[in-house]
Amino acid sequence: MGERYLLRGNEVIAEAAIRAGCQCYFAYPITPQGELVEHMARHMPRLGRTFIQAESEVAAISMVYGAAAAGVRTMTSSSSPGISLKQEGISYIAGSNLPAVIVNVVRGGPGLGNIAPSQCDYFQAVKGGGHGDYHMIVLGPSTVPEAGELTMLAFELADRYRTPVMILADGLLGQMMEPVELPESLELSKLPQKPWAATGAKGRDPNIILSFDLSPENLKRMNLELQAKYAEIRKNEVRWEEMDTADADIVVVAYGSIARIAKTVIRMARAEGIRLGLFRPITLWPYPYEPLRDLADRVHTILTVEMSAGQMWEDVRLAVAERAASPFYGEMGGVVPTPNGILSEVKKYAR
């Protein structure tokens, strides 16, 4: 086992981004992801890389657009209200086929809301918060070590598919500390080549980065190419975890922080003779519809637990259809469901 460090989720995402070869990071401070910005401010300049505290979230994501177009690994991070401001840029990044990583350490909403943990930005992340027919790959880490692993993966997927990738975390994951083994730093010289990037047209035709075509026929073609890419991502990149589902009668579906709380609930439920399992989507887009559908055939109840009014629940019901009962338990406003709270919900459906 390598050396373990006790670090916050926010710090681990920042450090993993550095180790993934992020060369340009742009952000505007907001709680509860301040430590992420501060970690980058401390370490990026020391490594000869770019840190800019942007004048706004809008500017930060636009700087990401520029750095991504120039062919370097780049990232921005924020929390809910700031992510709303980034939607314009995310749409342009998706439309221009640019790779970029966006971190949302979600807090209570809507509006200014509060700074407590929440999962209320699920729709915005997975259904396309900006304008146009686009998707981001959305990764939902559940532990601090996984936040680091998925940050590394986010850069890899962004480059592979030339697409924005979002890390959808929450205030709890951002703030808590856990032992973590940090990933090896990638060598910048070994990162994927980007012959499409705007680096100066030396010995080749100009590269043009855009999300624009006045001709409906041409724009339709650009859209079809995007959709073909999304089909490829759906085929290759669906990720999920199951725990104790083999003999389960009831399964909790949860992602992120709630999924790890649910793991404690499984232990408690099984101690009381309730055969409870967990289904945890890791990719929230593309969503693991098929494995969840298969699971629905084997259990009587699929209980969705979220820190929202039931946003992911819509995807769960799309997967489950009528194959199993599909109730919902959620908390909002920054209230975090506790193990006891979830257990008492589970007991309502135990037979």
Binding site: R4, T31, L172, Q175, M176, M177, R260, K263, T338, P339
Partner: protein, 179 residues
């Protein structure tokens, strides 16, 4: 076995740091740990708390309904967290600042004059280490030496190496305060 503790007090009493040091000591001792702070406006003046879990198994929820121990450094913390302590759990109460008795009869409670001990040690800001020393003695969850090493590392990281000695004394004094 999973042991959890909520350390709670006024902002400025060092509860967040005490939790970090405990978590660091647990990790160095080979345990799985989680550390979860209360954050935001609470940090600035009101009450602050953090939850630390130490376990020999992977930890699921970093949130606990019924912590196996609570350290209450002020009255609001006692009022808030006394009802949550697990049955047969441990409650450490700062007698220096809390006049009332513990109400629960199904837990083990220790009322210690933590501020007075810190003053005797020579620095009131070592309240958190006195409390942590007492907690380590009362629970035996990690060796006191592991906590001392974690504390020294934390002081060094914060550029406060000269405070290592007095904080060691505070840990010892807290440890000695539990029979």
């Amino acid at each position: 076995m999973e042991r959890s503790v909520v350390i709670a007090g006024f902002g400025g009493q060092g509860v967040i740091l005490a939790g970090k040091i405990l978590a660091q000591a647990g990790m160095s001792h080979g345990l799985e740990v989680t550390w979860l702070p209360s954050y935001g406006p609470e940090m600035r003046g009101g009450t602050a708390n953090c939850t630390v879990i130490l376990s020999d198994q992977p930890i699921g929820s970093p949130i606990v309904d019924e912590p196996s121990a609570v350290i209450a450094l002020n009255l609001p913390s006692l009022d808030k967290f006394e009802p949550t302590v697990a049955k047969k759990g441990i409650l450490l109460v700062n007698r220096s600042l809390i006049a009332r008795d513990v109400k629960r009869k199904d837990i083990v409670s220790h009322a210690i004059p933590i501020n007075d001990i810190a003053a005797q040690v020579g620095n009131l800001r070592t309240v958190n280490m006195v409390a942590l020393g007492a907690y380590v003695k009362a629970t035996g969850v990690v060796p006191l030496d592991a906590v001392k090493r974690a504390m020294a590392a934390a002081m060094r990281d914060g550029g406060k190496e000269k405070l290592v000695e007095i904080n060691e004394k505070a840990l010892d004094a807290g440890y000695a305060a539990i029979p």
